[in-house]
Every structure is written in C-alpha cells, then in structure tokens.
C-alpha cells in the first residue's frame, strides 16, 4: 500500500504555514491566484480519490464541481440565501445525489466505457444548466458581492466569503481539512478496499467484497467533495456558468491529477499549483497558451507518467540506499484469461 513518507508530511506542514503567512506580504494579484490554486487543488484531490486510488478514470468530474457551483448560485441569486449553514448542506446533498445517480449508471462498466459514460453524463448536465431557462443560460450568472455566502451566529458575522482575505483563509482551511479527511478515509477499512480495487479488482472481489458498492461510494465521496470545491469557486469568483461543467474542465482537472502525481494526495496540490502558475506565465508571453498546454500534456504523459510526486520519489530513492522494487503504480496487474 503506497504510503506517504514522513518528510513529505513535514514539507506539507511547512507549505501550509507558508500559505498562511503569504497574504501578509504577497502581491494582491498572486494572493488571489493562490486562492484559485487552493480551490482547484481540492477539486483535483477529489478526482484523485477516483483515479489514483479507486482506479476509476472519470472524464466527467467537472459535472459535480458545476452542480456545487450552481446549487450555491441558485440559493444566492434565486432565493437570496447567503447563510452558509443552509447553503453548504444543500450543496453537498445536491452533489452527492448527482454523483449517486451518475455513479450508479457508470460503475457497472469499466475501462473505456466508464470514461465515455462519465463524459456523456457530464455533457448531459452541461446542457441541463445550459439549456433550461431557469439556469440563466450560456452566459451564466454574476452573483451580487453582498449576497455571497457567510456564516453568522445570531447577528455576528463570523465568516464573510466576499472578503478576499477571509476567503483565502477559508480556502486554506478547507484544503487542509480535505487533505486530512481523505487521509483518514484512505487509512480506514474502506480506504484499504478501494486501494485494493485499483490494484486488482478481481482479486478483491474474490476475497468477498462487493466491488461495485465500494466503487459507488468512492464515486459519491469524490463527487461530493468536487461539489464542495464548486461551492468555493462560486464564492471566490461570484460567477457561475455552464463552462464550469464543460469537458475541457474535466480534462483540465485530470491533467492536474496526472501532472501532480496520482495516488498521492499532495500530488494534486502540486499539480494545481504548477499548472496555474504555468498558465499565468505562458499566457503572458504568447497567445498560443492552448498549444503550449497541449504539448505540455503530451510530454507529461510520455515522460512523467507518475507526475511530479513520482519524480520526487524517484529522486529520493536515488539518494537513499536501493530498496526492493515496490511495483509501478501505473500498471495494473492483469488477470489471466484462462479457459
């Protein structure tokens, strides 16, 4: 079972501290950008639970991100509700239900089929928000700054997400919490089963686990967390549009997971950081950002299949005395097709 080595935790803790103090001296623009990275990192982490741990390559994960964002927007813009104590439960339930329904259809298939079906269902939800007049259409909706989610106790406002600094720290706290939550889940009995499923689904089934149920639950957990990330994104930009559910968004988050290193929870954080910074840098130099992005993705696939995290652990292994090969996380063990 792949384990995160202690030094990595130390580095992560240092990273969290660095993020916590960054707004004190950082440039306003980059503070905003880091907030974006953190939201994206939570989103990518949720996908990593599927791709990197449960071995389910979902190409429609943006659907849940979008459901979370739209649920937030609907409460704010349609019902005038800004209370986080109401918005959050609604968002989480909406995303979970969407994930349950889509998961129920998709989980019964695997491989190429699973990829295509998740993509197709995400497209369906895309059109749901795009075409139905209730949802503001293609241009999306701007949320009033004053209506953004806040948490109040009586008349005292504790958290007001329309404040950029508050949002920054809320996002940071959520990132740390999401990381902790997924770490706990992966160490639980449930976590052990889904990790086993990725490595060798048939064997797990033969041991007496109802593989489908575990996959479905993993799918729902991941979808719910993605919905939560969507809530944060809607609060961050005060803007929601169908493009949040587009298949390019699903592709992008998959790129982040792969780039950072799937099967590690810190990988997606690294991936989000690198990709956003890369975009910021490249789009300042050339208008052909998408060409650079395309070539970059191809190169990562060919030369960095285990992502930055994989690169780090390879380097670490070179520095340490050789250890027995622990098997590549990339390849799946194939069941003998005996007759």
């Amino acid at each position: 079972m792949p384990r995160t080595p202690l030094p990595i935790y130390v580095l992560l803790a240092l990273g969290a501290v660095a993020l916590a103090v960054y707004p004190l001296f950082g440039d306003v623009f980059y503070v905003r950008l880091v907030a974006k990275v953190m939201v994206l990192a939570i989103f990518a982490m949720s996908l990593d639970l599927l791709v990197g741990y449960a071995g389910l390559v979902s190409f429609g994960h943006a659907a849940f991100f979008g459901v979370g964002a739209y649920a937030t927007a609907a409460l704010i813009a349609k019902a005038g509700i800004a209370d986080m104590a109401i918005i959050l439960p609604v968002v989480l339930v909406a995303a979970a239900v969407a994930a349950l329904v889509i998961g129920w259809f998709s989980i019964r298939t695997s491989g190429i089929y699973f990829i295509m079906i998740t993509l197709a269902f995400a497209q369906m939800l895309y059109f749901f928000f795009h075409d139905l007049p209730f949802w503001w259409g293609a241009d999306g909706v701007n949320l009033p700054r004053r209506g953004l989610p806040r948490l109040a106790f009586g008349d005292t406002v504790i958290l007001d997400l329309s404040d950029r600094t508050v949002f920054y720290y809320v996002a940071l706290a959520c990132l740390v919490l999401a990381f902790a939550l997924l770490t706990i889940i992966l160490r639980s009995p449930f976590g052990r089963v889904i990790v086993g499923i990725r490595v060798n689904e048939n064997r797990v089934r033969a041991l007496g686990y109802n593989v489908q149920n575990y996959k479905l639950v993993a799918f729902v957990i991941a979808g719910t967390l993605a919905g939560f990330a969507g809530f944060l994104e809607a609060s961050r930009t005060a803007f929601v549009a169908p493009a949040h559910l587009s298949w390019h968004e699903s592709g992008l988050v998959l790129v982040i997971v792969l780039l950072g290193g799937m099967g590690t929870l810190y990988g997606p954080i690294l991936g989000a950081f690198v990709l956003v910074m890369l975009e910021d840098w490249v789009s300042g130099i050339t208008e052909f950002w998408l060409l650079v992005m395309g070539l970059f993705v191809i190169l990562v696939v060919l030369f960095l299949p285990n992502g930055i995290a994989g690169l780090v652990s390879t380097l670490a292994q070179r520095l340490r005395p050789p250890k027995p090969d622990v098997g590549k996380p990339v390849e799946r063990e194939v069941e003998a097709a005996d007759v």
Partner: protein, 253 residues
C-alpha cells in the same frame, strides 16, 4: 464418510463456439481433498471459475450446502465460506505480505464501509491476518512488499490471502504451478495441514503431489468428466490411462 458440501448438476460454460465445460455433474464431500486433473484445455480452471462465481455458467446449477448459488457473484460466494486461489499469482504486488492478508481478513468484518477509524484499530482483523500468515509459513516475511518476495513465497501468500478469509471450502488452482521441487514440498506440507480442517478442491498437474494429498480424483477431458474415483481406481482405469495418464507415464513418470 462425510456429507456433501458442494455439488454441480449439468454445469456448462461456452465461449462462443467453444464448449469449455460441458455438463459437469459432481459432488464434493466435506473434509475431503478432491483433486481435478486433466490435460491442458480440459476446462479445469473454467470449472473453478464457475464454482467461485467468477464466471456465470451457461447452463446447469451449483449448490453449496444444499443452497443454490448458481447465479451468485464471486464476492457472495466468498462470503459463504468459499476461498479460492489463482493459478497465475494474483496478489497485490505493492502491498506488504501482511497487508495482503489484512485485506483478506478484513472482508470478514460485517462491513468495510467504515470511513473514519483507521483500519489498524480492528484487532480481530489483525489477529486473523496473522493467523493466516503463520499458517502459510510467511511470518518472517510479514512486512516485505509482496512484489519483492520469491516466486514460491508469492505462491504461499496467494494461499495465505485466501486463508485470511477463514473459508471452509478451498478452491485451489494449481498451487504448485511453476515451483521448484523444494518449494513444492513446502506447499504440499501446507496442503496436508489445511486438509485437516478444510475441504479442498484442487487442480494440479504435479501428479506426485496430487497422489500424496488427494482423497478423491476427477479426471476431466475436453470439458467433460471422464471418471471419478480414488487414487487407486484412477491409476487402474483404462480409460484414464488412454486419455491422459498413459502419456504422462510414458513420458517417464
């Protein structure tokens, strides 16, 4: 003689035009070691896959302790106390030996849909996993990643993982496949130990091993049961000799 634990009636499985298992009717008695032998392509592995729920049969029925499990899935069959090991080593290479068995042992929790307590607090699971490791003789390899163990040890772990699920009936698909003679001796010893308190259904090519442990033999050819009997009966059977053993013995056994 003990009672019947597992029985099949007219069990068949086809792949397109190919009939891999053809009308197999067999019964397996509790406490016995029942070996299934036959030349390559006789349908032995397919038969095991049908019994373990890995594959749905095309026709026929399977009953476990008198209960129909023909349509049961692999996980359901496992939960009913049927363990199986695979011909091709089918362990979690990146897990340690202990973690492999842990996953087997954990399957006997009422549910593994537990999300917040670390797996390591489940003492009974740990105890079960350790028992299985001890039984298959890998205690010294407990924390070694499975992928780093020798081939023979991996084969033992294959069985250990199954034992961790505390099955009553074991379906063993060529446990000796690809082993050197010394390793094979160890596994034969293990099989003998297991035979003491388990029912074994065993596919094996190593005839010495089969004759050493099996109470009853079934010979399969072309998907069909040719004959079932004790070691002596099978050795004496003319039909078996012609179809199968003849070649082997002629080959220098």
């Amino acid at each position: 003689m003990s009672d019947v634990i597992l029985e099949t009636d007219g069990l068949s499985r086809t792949f397109g035009a190919l009939v891999a298992v053809d009308g197999v009717t067999l019964s397996f008695r509790r406490g016995q070691v029942h070996a299934i032998i036959g030349p390559n392509g006789a349908g032995k592995t397919t038969l095991i896959n049908l019994l373990s729920g890995e594959l749905p049969p095309s026709a026929g029925t399977i009953k476990l302790r008198g209960r129909d499990i023909t349509r049961a899935k692999a996980d359901e069959v496992s939960l009913l106390g049927v363990g199986r090991s695979f011909q091709k080593t089918n362990i979690f290479q990146s897990f340690t030996c202990f973690e492999n068995c842990w996953l087997g042992a954990q399957s006997r929790l009422p549910t593994s849909m537990r999300f917040f307590r670390p797996a390591s607090v489940y003492r009974e699971v740990e105890a079960r996993a350790r028992r299985a490791i001890e039984l298959c003789g890998l205690t010294h390899r407990c924390d070694t990643p499975a992928g780093a163990m020798s081939y023979g040890e991996q084969r033992q772990l294959e069985i250990g993982m199954m034992l961790a699920t505390e099955p009553e009936l074991l379906l063993l698909d060529e446990p000796l496949a690809g082993m050197g003679s010394e390793e094979a001796v160890q596994v034969v010893e293990l099989l003998k130990r297991l035979a003491a308190d388990h029912t074994l259904i065993l596919i094996e090519h190593d005839m010495d091993a089969v004759f050493a442990v099996a109470d009853l033999l079934t010979v399969m050819v072309n998907g069909r049961v040719l004959e079932t009997g004790t070691v002596e009966q099978i050795r004496a059977s003319k039909a078996v000799r012609e179809a199968y053993l003849g070649d082997e013995e002629g080959g220098g056994h």
